[in-house]
Assembly symmetry: C2
Homo-oligomer: 147 residues x 2
């Protein structure tokens, strides 16, 4: 009869914010623009309650935003495609023909491929910057050694 078992949505907005390294205001803003769903069962003026799945989802969004520097509008499209993919995954179990299954998997591959391109572009740029900084560091260290 524990509500912890009946209802696993036991986190409040402040806890979710702290765990994901953001603020309550940001979470409400993401909900406002439709990037996050309004948490199940939330009525106006009442407290929002979240579950672990919500924390995961938000973490993922924040990570993509910070690491790839995309706008919230782009992030929204990305999340919607991700959503469509998870619907497809559910359908996949029941997909009747091999051809259907193949098409679903190929769309997944394309989606992941696009994300990987973004990530790798950033990674290369960062590697370049790091290399330049290391070269600087070595030059200065050498000069220090000469003293």
């Amino acid at each position: 009869m524990s509500s912890l078992i009946d209802n696993p949505r036991t986190l409040r907005i402040g806890e979710v914010a702290e765990r994901t390294g953001t603020t309550p205001r940001t979470i409400r803003y993401y909900e406002e623009i439709g990037l996050l769903p309004s948490p199940a069962g939330h009525e106006k003026g009442r407290h929002r309650t979240y579950g672990e799945a919500d924390v995961q989802r938000l973490e993922e969004l924040l990570r993509l935003r910070q690491l790839l520097g995309v706008t919230l509008e782009e992030l929204k499209e990305l999340a919607e495609r991700e959503e469509a993919r998870s619907v497809l995954r559910a359908e996949w179990q029941q997909a009747r023909t091999v051809e259907q299954r193949r098409r679903i998997l190929e769309q997944s591959l394309e989606h992941v491929g696009r994300q990987l391109e973004l990530v790798r572009g950033r990674r290369d740029a960062l590697a370049q910057l790091e290399q330049e900084l290391v070269a600087k560091q070595e030059r200065v260290t050498e000069l220090l050694g000469e003293l």
Copy 2:
């Protein structure tokens, strides 16, 4: 007698913007908040003229901003320290004692070290994200192979 030789500041704001992948408005804004110096000899209402050195400087700032995600205020502090370093480098030539030289070099090392920490933190986070995406990709590819 060519003004190209007398004065190498031959670039206009639009060219600088295009070369650095930004906009004239951004360049003026950076000048407004003191992140970029107002270009030498610029009077109100007249065209701004830039040289190659200005392009380099702006490129560097934009790179740090985009890759590290720092605010313009942080970037300003960073740039000021960089400025202080180049003043020190000039002094370095005339530094009389070994002790003076050592101190200057050690400050340089510290500065570069801090930047490297930022860059490496980002790099690791990106590497983690990339790895997760690759794992996803492999799972889907394997499923495709089974068809």
